[in-house]
Structures are given as structure tokens and as C-alpha cells.
Amino acid sequence: MAAHPSAIGWVPRPRLFINRVGLWLFILSESFLFGAALSSRYYLQGAERPPEVNQLLGLAITTVLLASSLSAYRAEMSAAHGHLSGLLRNLAATIALGLLFLIGVGVEWHEAFIYFPPADPYGTVFFTTTGLHAFHVLTGVIALSIVLYLGRDGRFTHGNYWGVEGAVKYWHFVDVAWVFIYPTLYLVR
């Protein structure tokens, strides 16, 4: 990743540590974005919630996303131990679960359009927050797909798998965000 070859007499920089710090800071930054979305929900609506919210679907997509976090974790651990087939299998599973989650959100949106359209006060926060989150899921799926594509070429070894680690950490973060979005949109009262 280093842009310039180190000149003579320079101690090589710990690239992995730099990348990790950068990614964590990015995650910190993104958590403020979700913080803004969630606090807007409470500011506009208090803890009110229309009765038509589909609780079973909410639980289902939460499960799917948590499961995808597990497979993402397995992918990273496989990469760390140089277990290539495990990496590829789990990456594919994560991407599939991510897409399943997006389909779930799509079904949810389809229903929500009837009960609380975007112009409705609850619809405003519901569509904005889930849309923002789904956008992050989509970028995560794209990142994981690139990692899968590169992984098939054997680009990641057990000593050098930052690509996997970065994409997976981002994926987990998207999951953490959902952990707070789920009760805010579906459960709280």
C-alpha cells in the first residue's frame, strides 16, 4: 500500500497498523452519521411507532445480518490461518446473506409504502435510516465481492490479508449499526 518506496535509512512503517487505525477512525466517523439518523428519529417521533411495523420480518433480517457477521468472521479467521477454501466459501456466504438482507429490506419497503409512506412522519425516519443502512450494506457487499474476486487469484496469504480484514471489519460495523437501528425502528416504545 505504501505509495513511495522507502528511501535509504528509513525504518519501514508498520503498514498494517496504519491501515487499522485509519479504518477504525473511519468507523468512528460513520458511527456519528448513524448517531445523527437515530437521534433524528427520537427528536421527530419520540418513541412512537405505528402498529403496522412488521415485527417478524424485522427479527428475520436481523438474524440474517447477524449470521452474515458470523460468516464474515469465519472468512477472516480462515484467511488468517491460510485456509483458502474456507475464506472463499465464507466470503460467498456473507455476500449471499448480505443480498438476502437487502431483499428483506426491499420487501419491508414494499410493505411500508402502504402503511407509512415516506411523506408520513414515521415513514420519513424509517425510509431514511433503513435506506442509509442499506446503502452501507450495498457498499459492503461490493467490497466483499472485490475481496472474493481477488481471493480467487490467491492474493491473500496468512501473513498478508489486509483486504479481507478491512472489508470484514467494515461489514461488522454495518452490523453494529443495525444492532442499534433495529430496536430504534422496530422495538422501542
Partner: protein, 622 residues
């Protein structure tokens, strides 16, 4: 230099990436808007609704522009395992293309935002022409509002980005002794997001202007002409760029300090950038979200601010100021860093109470997140919030006071060189003193009930941002000019610039406190006849103030081309950036520097800050 072969890129071919970026951008825009039109047509909706076409087209166009201008060649190719194209490491062409050298990016930022600063200044001149006499002078109120709003957002962008983007990019890696910033390509990305912002903002008048000021309060921002949409998209893009910048500086300062560069050996400017980057990394997300809600209300039919549907306009003000008040510390913290740096090196005295100042910076960061609602004292928010926010706001005067003590304590018993950078630093202290004191009047609720949204506010924030930050910026520009360009500016013209600007600046803005007290609201094109004389004089001095920048521009341009060649360390300063050539080579230092002491140990015989290459023995010791 590591490699002996220096790739050069000269001639018009160097501009090719810009052309490519532009073409890709146009293609992206057409693809994005086409996609929206297609999807809408399929869903049985009017495909030519302008809002969605613009928003999605812009996002695709932005991606196209970035890919064309260099992301594809230097970035995406690597993802797909292709060989990365080499970028040139010398030649002027580097300044017009995607380049990952932090020094090039620093200069790109500096020059771009200097131009924007002058442009914003010209808009201010236009406003002062209109305000010279009561009644309609040269333009209607709609034009005035657009002019004023453009002036606002351009200057806010300058204030947020010019020091961090320009000087911090150029100097932080040098000052902490590393060869490159943590994420060079993200750094280049955050610069190349700026040209679309500029294009969008300058295109707003073509789309009917925007009349909300830079604050974009809904519901006005939702009902305003189409120019507003461009402004919102530009602001969001700018916020994204500033988040990436903050990310880069934090990572760099945390992970890339040279051996021996402990936290309390960091130059104070680096501390100030660290503090400012913390704010821009986090709080900017809030303004991004608030502007996004404006866009959604306009384009997607949500009702965040549509009160007939249960929306609450005050939500925007909370979200917006949760960023935009901390943003003033993104502007002023680097300015604190600059003036303390300049004062210490040019008074040749250790920076007084260094650790206390570093602590104060962090204190300001902490407090900056809990003061935002002092912008809402008259907004109709819950009155129980008035007292707590008044208290937190006034607490900020304590760490700020520490900066003044550090400045005064450093000057005391020093050996001051009263050259141009020092004069601007001293001017900073005078102006910011006035700006800080008048801030108390606005933080105190009883007086704020009268002053909120009046010219008192205008004068106050111009004292802190222009009298404060821009004076610090100019101090920095003169102080580091030899390092950046390798040439020396004209000291005589520099002093002329300072005195001309300092006097006309104060004469322009002092009377505005009076007009504010006497009931002149901000953002108006007209005022009662009783304020005519004062406004006439303000306008006259404002024109003279604008003219002082002619001296500055001439001095900078002429000296950059024709000025005498500067030595590596013309000020005999001790920080690391002066221990390499002017301008620094690709890779910054011939060998990795090793830091062995404080950068401020003036007057201590034998004290050394850093050694660059033990073999060469080049050090800044006595």
C-alpha cells in the same frame, strides 16, 4: 531520492487527466440521470423530474470525474491486480493531476483556496456596493441574497479547508518527520473532490440562485429555487472531503511520528491539527446528514421539515449546529497552532506553557461538542436548555485564555523579529481578543436576545474568522513561503500589506458592532436611513481592505517566480521542516530524522530537536 530516474511530465499533455476527468464526469452524469429517468419511466412516474435527475446524475458524474482524473489509474487498477501506472515525481504537470505527494496536494489546496478566498472577497465587495447607500443601489434583493449566500459558503469552505488542506498537508509529515502521509491516495481524493464543489457552487446562479445563506435552514431550503439543490450537493461533497482529510491527519499523527517524536515533542501546530482533525472526522457527519435531509425533503418527498406532516424545522438547526459550531474550532485551532509556532520561533523563545496549550486544545475539542445550541437561544427551543448551553459556551473562554497566556508568555523576554509573519501573528492576537470578548456578549442569553442575527454577529465572527484565522493564515503564508516555493518574498511589500490590511480591517468591522447594536439585521440588502452614514464608511473601508490583497497577490506571484532563492532555514527555526531543503525533495528527508528534544529549546546551549541522518551529522543544534 530513492530512484535515480525522475519521471517528468511537461507540456500540454500534463493537462490530459483533467480533460479525461471532465469527459468521464459528463458520461457519468448522463448515465446516472438516464438511469433515474429509465427507472422512473418503468415505475410509471414522470421521468423528467429535475430533482432526482440532478442528484443521481451528480453522484455518477462525481464518480466518473474521480475515476477519470486519476483514481482509475492509481487506485482501482491495483484492486484488480493490474500494474499501477507510475505518477510523475517532478514537473509542473503534477499540480494539475491526481498526485499523491502531500507537498503537491498542499500546494494544490493552498492555491485553489487562495483563489476562492479572493473570489469570496470580490463577492463581499459587491455586497458592500449594494449596502453603501440605503435603498436599491445596484442589485435586487434576490441577487443580493445569492451573492451573500455564495460569499458565505465560499468563505466557510476556505476557512475550513485552507489551513488543514494546505499547510497541514504540506507541513505535518515534515514536522513529524515522515516521508508521506498515511493514506496518500485518499489525500489526493479529498483534494480532487474540491473542483466539483467549486463548479456546483458557481453554477448555482444559473439555476436560479440560492437564498438561504450557507446555513440552509429549512423549510426555506426545501422551497427555494433549484440553485439550492446544487449548493446542498456541493456542501455534502465538501463535507466528505473534509472527513477524509481529518481521517488522514489523525492516522498520520498517531502512527507515523519519527523515532523519538513523543507526544510532548510535537510542534504545537501538529497538536492543533490533531485537535481540529478530531472534530472534522466526527462532527462533519452531522452536517452531512442534516443537508441530506434537506435534499431528501426536496427530492424524495420525505417530511423532516414539513410541519403540516409533523416535521420539525428545529431538528435541522440542532443537527446543523452540532457540526457547524465545532466547525469554527476546525477553523481556529490550526490558527492558534500557527500563531504560537510563529511567535515562538520568531521571538526565539520556548513556547510558554506548551503542555497546558496542548491540553487546552483537547479541552476545546471536548467542549465544542456540547455548545451548539447557543445558536438557538431565540429559535423557540425549550427554554430550559438556555442556561446549560450558556454555561458550556462560556467555559470555552478558559482554554482559549490559555492560548493568549501562551502567546504573551512567549513574547515576554523574547528577542522579537518584527517581520511580516510576526506582525500578522501579533495582529491575530489583537483581532482575536476583540472577537473573543464580543463572543461573550453573544453567549450570554440576555444580550443575545438582542444581538442574535444582527450585524453584531457578523462583526463578531469576522473578527474571529477573518481577523483571527485569515490573519494566522497570512502569517503562515509568509512564514512558510520560502519553504514551499524555495524563494523569498519581499519583506517591504509584506509589511505594507500588513499595516494596510490591519488598519482597514479594523475600520471596516468595528462599526458593524455599532450597526448591530442599533438594530441592523444580518443578511439584508437594505437598512433604515439612520444607519446610512456608518454603512457608507464601512463600505469605503471594505473596498480599501479588498485592495490590500492586491499587494499580497503581487508579492506572492512575483516572489514565487522572481524572488531571491531562499536558504533551507531562513528563520533559523528549529522544527523539522527547516532541516531539509527548500522546497523539500520527494520523500522529504535524505535520511530518516531522529528526534531527540523539544522543538522549542531556544536559549539553551547545545539543545537539539532532531538529527537528520547520523552520518551526515546535519542537526539544528547551536
Amino acid at each position: 531520492m530513492a530512484g535515480s530516474s525522475v519521471a517528468k511530465d511537461v507540456g500540454l499533455r500534463a493537462l490530459l487527466p483533467l480533460v479525461k476527468g471532465f469527459l468521464f464526469g459528463v458520461v457519468g452524469f448522463l448515465a446516472g440521470s438516464g438511469l433515474v429517468a429509465g427507472v422512473r419511466a418503468l415505475m410509471g412516474q414522470d421521468p423528467w423530474k429535475l430533482g432526482p435527475l440532478l442528484v443521481v446524475g451528480y453522484i455518477f458524474g462525481l464518480v466518473g470525474w474521480l475515476l477519470g482524473v486519476g483514481m482509475w489509474d492509481y487506485w482501482v487498477r491495483e484492486w484488480f491486480g493490474l500494474s499501477r501506472k507510475e505518477e510523475p515525481s517532478a514537473g509542473w504537470g503534477r499540480f494539475f493531476r491526481f498526485c499523491t505527494d502531500h507537498k503537491v496536494i498542499g500546494v494544490q489546496y493552498l492555491v485553489t483556496f487562495m483563489v476562492v478566498l479572493l473570489l469570496g472577497g470580490l463577492l463581499a465587495v459587491g455586497m458592500r456596493v449594494e449596502l453603501m447607500t440605503p435603498g436599491r443601489t445596484i442589485m435586487g434583493p434576490g441577487t443580493y441574497n445569492t451573492l451573500m449566500s455564495l460569499h458565505g459558503i465560499l468563505m466557510i469552505a476556505v476557512a475550513v479547508a485552507i489551513i488543514i488542506g494546505g499547510f497541514a498537508n504540506f507541513l505535518v509529515p515534515l514536522m513529524i518527520g515522515c516521508e508521506e502521509i498515511a493514506f496518500p491516495r485518499i489525500n489526493a481524493l479529498s483534494y480532487w473532490l474540491i473542483p466539483p464543489v467549486a463548479v456546483l457552487l458557481l453554477a448555482t446562479p444559473l439555476m436560479g440562485g440560492f437564498e438561504t445563506g450557507w446555513t440552509a435552514y429549512p423549510p426555506l431550503a426545501v422551497t427555494n429555487p433549484r440553485g439550492e439543490l446544487l449548493f446542498l450537493l456541493a456542501f455534502i461533497t465538501f463535507g466528505f472531503s473534509s472527513i477524509l482529510g481529518g481521517l488522514n491527519f489523525l492516522t498520520t499523527i498517531i502512527t507515523l511520528r519519527a523515532p523519538g517524536m513523543t507526544w510532548f515533542r510535537l510542534p504545537i501546530f501538529v497538536w492543533s491539527i490533531l485537535a481540529a482533525a478530531m472534530i472534522s472526522l466526527t462532527a462533519t457527519q452531522f452536517v452531512g446528514f442534516s443537508l441530506l435531509t434537506d435534499v431528501l425533503d426536496r427530492v424524495a418527498g420525505t417530511s423532516f421539515y414539513n410541519s403540516t406532516q409533523g416535521g420539525k424545522p428545529l431538528l435541522f438547526q440542532h443537527l446543523f449546529w452540532f457540526y457547524s459550531h465545532p466547525a469554527v474550532y476546525i477553523m481556529i485551532l490550526p490558527a492558534f497552532g500557527i500563531v504560537l509556532e510563529v511567535v515562538s520561533h520568531l521571538a526565539r523563545k520556548p513556547l510558554f506553557a506548551y503542555r497546558w496549550v496542548a491540553g487546552s486544545f483537547l479541552g476545546i475539542v471536548g467542549l465544542s461538542f456540547i455548545v451548539w445550541a447557543h445558536h438557538l437561544f431565540t429559535s423557540g427551543m425549550d427554554e430550559r436548555l438556555h442556561l446549560p448551553f450558556m454555561v458550556t459556551t462560556e467555559l470555552i473562554s478558559i482554554p482559549t485564555g490559555m492560548v493568549f497566556l501562551a502567546g504573551l508568555g512567549t513574547l515576554w523576554m523574547g528577542r522579537l523579529q518584527l517581520n511580516t509573519p510576526m506582525l500578522f501573528a501579533l495582529g491575530f492576537f489583537f483581532n482575536f481578543l476583540i472577537g473573543g470578548i464580543t463572543g461573550i456578549y453573544l453567549a450570554d442569553v440576555p444580550t443575545d436576545l438582542h444581538f442574535q442575527d444582527s450585524y453584531f454577529v457578523v462583526s463578531h465572527f469576522h473578527y474571529t474568522i477573518m481577523g483571527g484565522e485569515i490573519f494566522a493564515l497570512l502569517a503562515a503564508t509568509y512564514y512558510w513561503f520560502p519553504k514551499i516555493t524555495g524563494r523569498m518574498f519581499s519583506e517591504r511589500l509584506g509589511r505594507l500589506h500588513f499595516w494596510w490590511m490591519f488598519v482597514t480591517y479594523n475600520l471596516t468591522f468595528i462599526p458593524m458592532f455599532w450597526t448591530g447594536l442599533h438594530g441592523m439585521p444580518r443578511r439584508v440588502a437594505d437598512y433604515p436611513a439612520t444607519l446610512a452614514d456608518t454603512n457608507w464608511w464601512v463600505s469605503v473601508f471594505a473596498f480599501l481592505l479588498a485592495a490590500s490583497f492586491l499587494v499580497f497577490v503581487w508579492n506572492m506571484v512575483y516572489s514565487w517566480v522572481r524572488g531571491p532563492v531562499a536558504s533551507a532555514n531562513p528563520w533559523q527555526a528549529r522544527t523539522l521542516e527547516w532541516l531539509t531543503s527548500s522546497p523539500p525533495p520527494h520523500g522529504n528527508f535524505p535520511r530518516e530524522p531522529e528526534v531527540v528534544g523539544s522543538p522549542y529549546d531556544y536559549g539553551i546551549p547545545g539543545a537539539v530537536h532532531a538529527v537528520v541522518g547520523a552520518a551526515a551529522g546535519a542537526s539544528n543544534g547551536e
